[in-house]
């Protein structure tokens, strides 16, 4: 449950073992009067206790912490006192980007790299970015995350494993169950199988990594269609997402490259820094620079619009959780060209922004809870009688 709305500055807890960073965060956040730091924690244990006691509007948290690491602290907070958490960590040489993915999967809503010597902007500009991201974070209606609860109680088979627990490719666990009534509600009518589908394209933003894992982990290893994922993500984190998903799902996961074709039975993740466009029905892709002023990169609208033009009804589009409107127009273009389109429902979305915008445009054939999207895709994509056609 999210904290009650506040009339004054949003109360924030900062978590970092460096006093320099805690002071910098306090100064940066309080400079504009929108936020006030109500508590500082030096490790994960203190963070969990402070959040429980102070019930802040948001938490800004480093991942590399003594006594209890950031990912575990996030799991515990999201399990007991769900709060929007903005990860604030240094990702040296990209080695910690998988940690960031674990944090997002554990329920953190956003990731921001600490300021560092390779930054091109000033610290003042950085502080503006921090406040803007925090402004978005406090608006997110977070839901209690089941993963920590399952792990704490020794529940079986429900939660995706942390990256460090995975050694190579292995049989899948069931997707994480959500604890909302809507998630358990049966789908009113099955979706008919469609033939001739070449591509499944999925767009996601805030809360996306966990939602992607839930959907993709239901798809069989011998899937005949190509899968394309566009996840809003800061520069440098896509390789971590690719690696993380690749270890947790049966389908191979790769990063998209200009000039390459999307392969059947392979999940291709759009790289950061540009828009991935599907050029033709042979599924060749082109990476183009973002449009001037484009806020979300890679852009979902750009990719889905290109898919609409290239494939028409030979594609399926899915728009998952995320803030803003990106993907709504692209999904509409796909639907107008005859593609089947699905949207994640409000009850299971970390942020019901993009799927809501798509639904409002009339771009969504069917709106479903996250747990129902994978099974629906199997109905549509996997031939009856196939060894892998039975629901997982």
């Amino acid at each position: 449950m999210s904290p009650a709305p506040v009339s004054g500055p949003h109360p924030v807890v900062v978590v970092d073992d460096s006093a320099v960073q805690r002071r910098f965060l306090r100064g940066a956040m309080e400079a504009a009067g929108e936020f006030t730091v109500v508590g500082e924690a030096r490790n994960g244990r203190e963070a969990v206790a402070l959040v429980e006691r102070l019930r802040p509007a948001a938490v800004v948290m480093d991942l590399d912490l003594p006594l209890m690491g950031g990912v575990e602290a996030i799991e515990r907070i999201m399990c007991s006192h769900a709060t929007p958490i903005l990860v604030y960590s240094a990702f040296v040489a990209g080695v910690d980007s998988e940690n960031a993915l674990e944090a997002l999967a554990a329920g953190a809503v956003d990731v921001l790299a600490k300021p560092g010597p390779d930054d091109t902007g000033t610290l003042e500009e950085y502080a503006e970015v921090l406040r803007r991201r925090l402004r978005m974070a406090v608006r997110i209606r977070v839901i209690t995350h089941p993963r920590g609860r399952l792990r704490r109680t020794g529940g079986l088979g429900g939660a995706p494993p942390a990256l460090g627990e995975v050694a190579g490719r292995r049989p899948l666990l069931a997707p994480a169950p959500t604890d909302t009534p809507a998630a358990a509600a049966p789908d009113p009518a099955p979706i008919a199988r469609r033939t001739g589908i070449k591509l499944l394209v999925i767009g996601a933003s805030t809360g996306g990594p966990q939602a992607l894992l839930t959907v993709l982990s239901t798809l069989p290893a011998d899937l005949e269609q190509a899968v394309l994922v566009v996840q809003h993500m800061a520069e440098g984190f896509i390789p971590g997402l690719v690696s993380w998903l690749d270890q947790l799902i049966e389908l191979p996961v790769v990063q998209g490259e200009s000039g390459r074709r999307l392969e059947p039975g392979t999940v291709t993740v759009a790289p950061s820094g540009g828009n991935l466009l599907v050029q033709d029905d042979r599924l060749r892709v082109l990476i183009t620079p973002p449009e001037p002023g484009q806020f979300h990169v890679p852009g979902i609208d750009a990719t889905m619009s290109s898919v609409a033009s290239a494939l028409g009804s030979e594609a399926v589009g899915v728009l998952l959780t995320g803030m803003g409107r990106d993907g709504a127009a692209g999904l509409l273009a796909m639907r107008e060209r005859g593609a089947l389109t699905l949207g994640q429902d409000e009850a299971t979305s970390a942020v019901y922004g993009m799927p809501a915008a798509a639904a409002a445009l009339g771009a969504v054939d069917r709106q479903l809870p996250i747990d129902a999207i994978g099974p629906a895709l199997r109905e549509v994509l996997v031939a009856p009688g196939s060894p892998t056609s039975a629901p997982r």
């Binding site: 073992d17 460096s18 100064g27 040296v92 040489a93 080695v95 010597p117 390779d118 610290l123």
Partner: protein, 117 residues
């Protein structure tokens, strides 16, 4: 040729810090710099010892120390030191040559030893 250690004067360090966080109130800036001085007093001796001995348990702590200094040095305007600390961290994380790590710690020591708030 070995790099000549750079020991910043209080005035230039203060000026760099001011430029780095120009909108912070003077009190906050002073607090930031004092916190960094405390962090140095705590972490630099540990780093020196780890670089001298290359003892694995000490290197575990050293990884956290260079990780922290790489970020906090930048926040107080010490970009060169931040870059050196991050290079040292990358060596440890990537399983690189420990002599390179020791050289980078010596460089970091030269950049930050004597730093005053």
């Amino acid at each position: 040729m070995p790099k000549v250690p750079k020991v910043p004067t209080a005035a230039t360090a203060e000026e760099r810090a001011r430029q780095a966080v120009s909108r912070l109130p003077a009190a906050a800036l002073a607090g930031l710099r004092e916190a960094f001085a405390d962090e140095l007093a705590d972490r630099l001796p540990r780093l020196r010892e780890a670089a001298r001995t290359l003892d694995p348990p000490l290197l575990t702590d050293a990884l956290r120390d260079v990780h922290t200094l790489g970020s906090s040095a930048y926040v107080v305007g010490e970009s060169d030191a931040a870059r050196t600390a991050r290079a040292a961290e990358a060596v440890l994380v990537g399983g690189g040559d420990l002599q390179t790590f020791a050289r980078l710690v010596a460089e970091l020591d030269g950049q930050l030893n004597g730093w005053r708030p």
